[in-house]
Subunit: 139 residues, 4 copies
């Protein structure tokens, strides 16, 4: 499926907290990493997004995660990101993180298609997702 990617993630020393497990906000950084990897796979580097579509990012408007199995330093995880729904200006990714065979984390990101704000420099606003972008993740 072109709407999904799985990539490995070694748990780094600095990702973990004094309890010896991944500091939970870092799982969201893993989600973010998997999302960008999925976009790269679809040919959408940030540079390509800018040049071909004028988009400047895909900011997150909602995120959630459930943590079931601890992940520790030097564990090798598998990050799986899947685009599960397309809206007009937003889309939803579901995330799974496996630690070996165990499903350790499940979650969700809702992101918008970010265009430059028409009047305020350095700001962005949600825009309609081009059909051509959606097509890259289908079929």
């Amino acid at each position: 499926m072109k709407n999904s990617i799985s990539i490995p993630q070694r748990v780094e020393w600095g990702d973990c907290d004094p309890a010896g497990i991944v500091f939970y906000p870092n799982f969201f950084a893993y989600f973010d990493r998997a999302t960008w990897a999925l976009f790269l796979l679809a040919g959408l580097s940030l540079e390509a997004m800018r040049q071909e579509y004028g988009a400047v990012g895909v900011p997150v408007v909602d995120a959630q995660a459930t943590f079931s199995v601890p992940c520790r330093f030097q564990d090798t995880l598998t990050l799986t990101a899947t685009i599960s729904a397309w809206g007009r200006t937003s889309f939803t990714l579901t995330h799974e993180i496996h630690n070996g065979e165990a499903l350790a984390v499940t979650g969700r990101e809702v992101r918008i298609w970010g265009l430059p704000h028409p009047t305020v420099e350095g700001r962005l606003k949600a825009g309609a997702i081009p059909a051509d972008v959606i097509a890259r993740f289908q079929g």
Copy 2:
């Protein structure tokens, strides 16, 4: 209310991403900071939790956030954490982050009362929350 705390948070350079806004996982780090500040206010440093109750942490099992208003470098935020529900071994915190007057982020953490695992060193398991702990946040 003893079950709630509000603390200031300046947005740091390293908290922000190339879009110039807070990298969203860092809002969960802000949540974590506010939760520990609330526990400190109740007299529960990690050291006190260990010595008085044998607890070794309050790991997060579920987290969610909705991001409504961008937060930028050098913005001064107000982090508000409130314990909104107590279960037998878990409890729920609601989080609000204001950017000036604007409610920028709302969210939730579910945490467990973490006791040392009875047989595996360095691991923990959920335990019953002492009534005395709950009482510290009431009245």
Copy 3:
């Protein structure tokens, strides 16, 4: 002295590693935080730097730190940043971090005065530091 600032820093849970001490790269994030606080004290928010001087940042070109005393979760540190030398396009900050009475970390940052690159959008280059900027930290 207007060329120096000291600010408190509570050690957060997510700042620490499985050894229970601050993950050493985070001390450099503390340095960065203290540097920006010093600039703010001198009236140089990033916004002011942009509007008054056309500068877009003060990127680090060299950094060093020596770690002498462990810093742990919930320790209250004092971050001290001092501008110790001005060059034509660069300047040096010395950093000290005290943990209670103990001098825990000493270090150094060399930063440049960052102007927008004349031809490449989104890039920057070192520029001459305005005398007026230096004067803000003197006397």
Copy 4:
């Protein structure tokens, strides 16, 4: 050479700051990642270090870096870590980070061989590095 390793590192969105370049403390996190990868290559996972030598980590006592070439989101870096000197209780790593062909960052870490503190639980102290450990990185 068994005393050196090179690994790839994609620059992630959350590694970068509002200037669009890697937030400099994150280069030290890259150093740390490369150091642990070198130890893993030598058969020294943290677990192996604990079980075979009673060591609990290799904490950094000094670190330095020089930043020459900007590194941006989605750049693919090569991290090279080399153990360049062995002392009785400490050792030195030199680090290089290439961005494509360009040498972007050079640096150094001095680390100690960390043994559990004999009397204070949860603390560590420097110990003599076993000859067998050094031999793993030679020949």
